[in-house]
Symmetry: C2
Subunit: 371 residues, 2 copies
């Protein structure tokens, strides 16, 4: 073990003996404790390459002012020792971690997961790492807990994938330099927000169904505490009102297929319901099952449109017409926005919307003849 350090001979430093400054007064060199180090440091590389640590630093960071010859030597030494920069020391010195924290509710919804994935990819591309801050239950306490953990965490910025009022309520003070970007929120006046264009997407769905001849469109809504759900509901109302159609009573689910099934039982019982816009694909799946169980055919008797375009949507019975969300783009924009804020190039707040695209499959058709 000891041998490692001992083997590192001073490779003929330029006779630094004369450099005996006034410091080493007495004491016959108390010989630094020779411990076998797990990783090589700049000093080790410097010693082996016969240069100063600073030069190693310059090479490591690709700074100019190093001869090609010297650079080669340093690189060789790095390789020999298996040198890896110590990110902790680097972060301490530089005051930044090159890490983005992502705080989100349980990864059970497709949207969050896909967004997270895109964020991670974009961040990696920009040389940033992503630290995941899971929040088990969407209660204020939990959120506050996550933020408290976050406060001590090594991150330069935070992307929040959830309704922001929980964030507001959690009276946590982030370190002043930590930037925040939010998904799934309407707080564009206070934060930088990136989101799918819920309104436009919903509008496209409703218009598609009305265009097929349906008298009106029912809505299977998501949970009240979700901003996305709320926006879709609002947009649905607006689109119907604008078209001068009757507004059917709202049916509410909680995003899960099971809740879609429960709600679907209600809808299936109503003869006058010929078109349903479900706030996500999972609920649409449950709805499809409920309709099937009640002998109502899709799309002959009832048309269904979903939201999200999860990969399975094309394998539903029948394949689901739905709104495709470009999560990859949302994630990418989040990272861009947060980096811009860190460089103080971007605006402090404002909302960026990513369009949703209607994907036509086989779950929609004109209403039954009689209607």
């Amino acid at each position: 073990m000891e041998t490692v350090d001992d083997a590192v001979v001073n490779p003929g430093g330029p006779a630094a003996a004369t450099a005996g400054d006034g410091r080493g007064t007495a004491a016959p060199a108390p010989r630094r404790r020779t411990r076998a180090r797990a990783t090589a440091s700049m000093a080790d590389v410097a010693r082996l390459a016969g240069v100063s640590a600073q030069t190693v630093s310059r090479v490591s960071n690709g700074y100019p002012g190093v001869t090609e010859e010297t650079r080669r030597q340093v690189l060789a030494a790095m390789k020999e020792l298996g040198y890896r920069p110590n990110s902790a020391a680097r972060a301490l010195k530089r005051g930044e971690f090159r890490t983005i924290g992502v705080i989100t509710f349980s990864l059970s919804t497709t949207g969050n997961v896909r967004t997270l994935e895109a964020i991670a990819n974009s961040a990696a591309h920009e040389g940033y790492a992503v630290t995941l801050l899971p929040v088990a239950v969407p209660t204020q306490d939990e959120v506050r807990g996550a933020f408290t953990r976050l406060e001590e965490l090594a991150v330069d910025a935070v992307i929040v994938i959830m309704e922001v009022h929980l964030l507001d309520a959690a009276t946590v003070q982030l370190p002043p330099h930590v930037q925040v970007v939010v998904v799934d929120s309407d707080a564009g006046d206070r934060y930088t927000v990136v989101d799918t264009d819920q309104h436009g997407g919903t509008r496209a769905a409703v218009r598609h169904l009305l265009g097929l001849g349906h008298r009106t469109v029912w809505h299977l809504a998501g949970p009240e505490d979700s901003f996305a759900a709320q926006r879709r509901t609002d947009a649905w109302r607006a689109a119907l009102t604008e078209a001068g159609r009757e507004l059917p009573p709202l049916v509410r689910g909680d995003w899960s297929a099971e809740s879609g099934h429960r709600a679907g039982l209600e809808l299936a019982a109503r003869e006058d319901c010929t078109a349903v816009f479900a706030a996500n694909d999972q609920m649409a799946l449950g709805l499809l099952r409920a309709l099937h169980e009640h002998g109502r055919r899709v799309p002959e008797d009832v048309s269904v449109v979903g939201f999200d375009d999860i990969p399975e949507a094309s394998s539903f019975l029948p394949p689901l017409t739905t709104l495709h969300q470009d999560f990859a783009e949302v994630g990418r924009l989040c990272v861009q926005a947060v980096l811009r804020k860190m460089r103080q190039e971007g605006p402090e707040r404002g909302t960026t919307l990513v369009p949703a695209r209607l994907v036509l499959r086989e779950s929609t058709a004109p209403p039954p003849a009689g209607r």
Copy 2:
């Protein structure tokens, strides 16, 4: 903009003027550049509380040997200054980051996501953060890239959620102290592995179907490069052989519902196929659609069993009988294992299996009378 910083008044530090130590010999006090610090350090807290930085450190870490009185004062000072420990400095000093890296393929499969989520939760519970290392495409180059990024990353351990031969092939040298735990692999002889009991689960599925009276069981397999898929296929073969049944030809998919649909078209055409074990629920979904399209009823004509028990499985048409994977437990065990390795308490290698549980729903029944 600037106002923010300017507004941060020094909250009446105890006239630190007298602290003019003996260092500044000549030069009329070059006055350290008075920059508005973003965060308070231990020294700041110590000054305000009238103690040494070391005492602040002790309080911060909950070490003993501090009077209740002193502790209170320090805590008050911390609160007043909004002190947050600097994790970079801490990591540098301690030589550990309290962070676990998770490297996985695209988060498109339920299993990976759920495992990741459980890992994140368990890690948070243990005071560890999770850094996500996304690998866009499962090529050696990509994996190597991820590991290279990882090498410079601030992590103490790595959990790999993917077939490990890619890891082997990627000739990357992790820093020696970084521990590794693997999911979805058979490399128990070289690594610490945690996984669902693919074999036991598959066996339960096959026995269930045989028990219902089916002559044999067909298998809709996952992609060849997935270890989990391979294990399920092997186990399916073993279970049939053991029962002395005929081994039908293998049908292969790629995990996706779409591939399940394609493969399902083949199966649906065969009259002698009355029972199918699909390697995951998504493919089972596609299979259900294909069977439906061919007028073959489930479960009356064909029985189907899936694997995973995704939340939507209970809303399939019909609700799917499937093997429930306890991803939460897998994730928890990964974290436990990796922490144990870090403390050098655990074995270097070996495999831990988490049982899969057969969930009976409505997609299985005895074969049609004639068969």
